[in-house]
Symmetry: C2
Subunit: 254 residues, 2 copies
Amino acid sequence: MMTQTTRIWTAALIVVGDEILSGRTQDKNIAQVASWLGVQGIRLREVRVVPDVMDAIVEAVNTLRARNDYLFTTGGIGPTHDDITVDAVAQALGVPVVIHPRAHAILDAYYATRGGLNEARLRMARVPEGAGLIENRLSGAPGIHAENIFLMAGVPSITAQMLDGMTGTLEGGLPLLSRTVGCWVAESEIAELLRDTERNHDGVSIGSYPFFREGRVGANFVIRSTDTAVVSACATALSDALSALGREPFDGGI
Amino acid sequence: MMTQTTRIWTAALIVVGDEILSGRTQDKNIAQVASWLGVQGIRLREVRVVPDVMDAIVEAVNTLRARNDYLFTTGGIGPTHDDITVDAVAQALGVPVVIHPRAHAILDAYYATRGGLNEARLRMARVPEGAGLIENRLSGAPGIHAENIFLMAGVPSITAQMLDGMTGTLEGGLPLLSRTVGCWVAESEIAELLRDTERNHDGVSIGSYPFFREGRVGANFVIRSTDTAVVSACATALSDALSALGREPFDGGI
């Protein structure tokens, strides 16, 4: 069967945060953004973690927005002096920072029963000129959508809300499917088999991830392709080959 | 008192891994490398997560090694076809890949009781010409040290061993110290106080990290400087100011 060549949609992620670079905080956003993008049919191609420093953010924004369909950022959109992601994105886009009227109204309503809007809180209504908003039911302050850039919160639970609100709104391609074949075998014993199996199945990549459990060495072999039939055929071929070698492959899930 | 200007030592980290970019695996190496570097008096300035793709790794290696004292990589140094970090670093450095005699001997000894050395396992003795080794007591295969680049494993427990073996061997500067003042206050209520406190203490940065616990809003304010006296003075000033506002600061630890 002829396979139609399909466009691959790509994204990059910038994690803005001294707290990640200091090791104080374990990042949770890379995995959740990566998983969410996969479901949208968009491939996460690169992540950069940068400090809360204007030039570092601007450089990363300009490089990554140009070579990906979408760019996401997490962190640095709060009310305090170290929150400079909006300013950096505006500088990268060459536009001024303005107060977004609807964000202003959202914050006004949110803080009406929480001590009122002050100067710091109003900072969270600042957007690069021309930007739209990303809904956030959790904490009032919205995310921001400027050209192909999506600015989200640093707090993972708030980022999750923003991703949820964007589900199905971005154009993507075929999701990258995966199937995992596990086996109690050292990956170094079957490296040649893995390489040959990958070569024999068009458009498939096989990743090999060793583990050490219950005193035994094993590995998960993750088979990825956009074509479900090819993924299945490749998983069957690999499992059969492992069985023929006297190994016991098991289903490692999708 | 005059403060002597001290050199700041910097590092970058490249996480090589399709499994991180797909969201399948939650990265653990960024936090552990960041924490380890902090203890060595080296600041982690930037992290990039790149796919198992030659050009992507080479680009990141060349950019980051040039502008940092040290560059670390995790992932892609195993025995299978998708392990290409050694080749990418060699290409970036413009040197061939060679078999390191001591790595060869280490692997020979390690696999003597584990089925013997085969072609795939011998791949783990490949290094960029001129490189040295990083000891790894856990799984035989060593890490690699080429110029200012340190290639480590993707499996976090093995990376931990390699970091442990390098402790105290890299030249660094003054460690960045931190002290955390916690408070049951919305960061947006005291944003001005935070900015002013930072400005009043030379060489200090204050990060603000909100949290929501037990139905209450609070934040940790992380004060960072290389000078322990300045960190203490700043923490005291911030705590006193919060108390004066009727808030109850608490010690958030170091």
